[in-house]
Symmetry: C2
Subunit: 257 residues, 2 copies
């Protein structure tokens, strides 16, 4: 496994792969890897000649400096996981390498980024779309892998690729869950044991409540602070908080009983 | 000369060129071609195996609907000029092809786009940067050619390429002028004969005035409405109006006498 900390070295390696006709799958991450990321990696390995995983905690997408500071950073463990999975390449760039412009240039989406997560995290999707555009250009991959857990993000990234005619196909991968249903997330490790137990009800309630309003009500009864629960285009999306840990999830409405 | 009105056909042609190892130079235009554009085309032809010229009057960069409506559209004449120059490819896409997103996705620059032209044309550079990013992705060229007449635009496009790691080199080309010094511009053809005569003083005064303030003063005396004249990083930039026609120009400060 080759770890690139600087962009030019990676770009040179990618140019060599392209000349050799090798296809690339790209898995962008913020590190703190879990089995959800591993599922993206395995899918990429199955569909491409090589796989690149990027690890970069993107300051531009944290509207809250505390959340950025508290975001788990576990680079050594991450690299062990990726090595164990037989990943070919890791890109772990510095902020100044990725933002030579100091975040002066931004990509923004003016409608669908404004509701749901965008309403609760102003500026969040500007940061996401900006860094994803940068990373997709740098990776120069045939395919890039995103989890369905971040449903709104996934759809905004699909729109980004269409709007700017990017040559990379976006591949959506199913949410990976703990045995009790909790969607895997790097933020889960910040849950205390009592909140961790409570958190399992998030998925269950989202899935079984008859309406979005009923789900909100049941979640509040179960001790969650509810940012939103909405049914939208065949999907129920929700965001809740337990203490200072914020969780999001979504389920297809067909599964709702 | 092959004229592409649809993007997929062009992209297929470009893929074939890339496989054949052919380099491409790209000249984005809004049509109404003049000798300034021709100089870009010739430079591209000298430096690349093939040349693509795009013709698209970009609604997103006109903050004023009247200016957009009045912008000269001369497609037949443009194609004759390009054919005469031996251009290989022309791309003349529709608005819906270029904006499948309906301009929901935008590129913005938050500092250097806000002064000068940006101050007088709010939103203008968002439209420019957004369409340039789209076109650079579609063209997939080794080099793209921009005129120095639009100095602020040229620098913002350079920044765009750096910020998003685009694989295209931006080549700056000298402003082409009429015999009396007036910088060639598609808007010049909208000047009446009296204003056309007056317009020649714009370049002369920008070049000879000792200070930016002195240039503003002389331009007003000569009958121009002055939007701005500023000395900035070794360059004097100005924007003036004659009736409803707006002219911009810039000169290196070294040439100031």
């Amino acid at each position: 496994m080759t770890v690139f900390e600087r962009l030019p070295a990676w770009r040179q390696a990618r140019a060599t792969q392209v000349r050799a006709g090798l296809t690339l799958g790209f898995v962008p991450t913020m590190g703190a890897l879990h089995d959800g990321h591993v599922s993206l990696v395995r899918r990429s390995q199955a569909e491409n000649d090589c796989t690149l995983v990027s690890i970069f905690v993107n300051p531009a997408q944290f509207e809250d400096a505390t959340d950025f500071a508290k975001y788990p950073r576990t680079l050594d463990g991450d690299l062990r996981i990726l090595q164990g999975e037989g990943v070919d390449y890791v890109l772990a760039p510095s902020e100044s390498d990725l933002y030579p412009d100091g975040f002066r240039y931004r990509v923004t989406e003016i409608e669908r980024s404004k509701g749901l997560e965008g309403a609760h995290r102003p500026g969040h999707f500007d940061g996401v779309l900006t860094v994803v555009l940068k990373l997709l250009q740098i990776a120069s991959a045939e395919r890039a892998y995103f989890g369905e857990k971040d449903w709104q993000q996934l759809n905004l990234v699909r729109g980004l690729v269409e709007a700017f005619f990017l040559p990379t196909s976006i591949v959506a991968c199913q949410t990976i869950r703990e045995a009790d249903g909790l969607a895997l997330s790097s933020r889960n490790r910040r849950l205390g044991s009592k909140d961790r137990e409570r958190a399992s009800q998030f998925y269950r309630i989202l899935s079984v409540a008859l309406t979005a309003d009923a789900a909100s009500h049941k979640l509040r009864e179960a001790g969650f602070i509810v940012d939103y629960v909405t049914d939208c285009q065949g999907r129920r999306l929700g965001a809740v908080r337990l203490g200072d840990v914020r969780l999001i999830d979504n389920v297809p409405l067909g599964e709702t009983r």
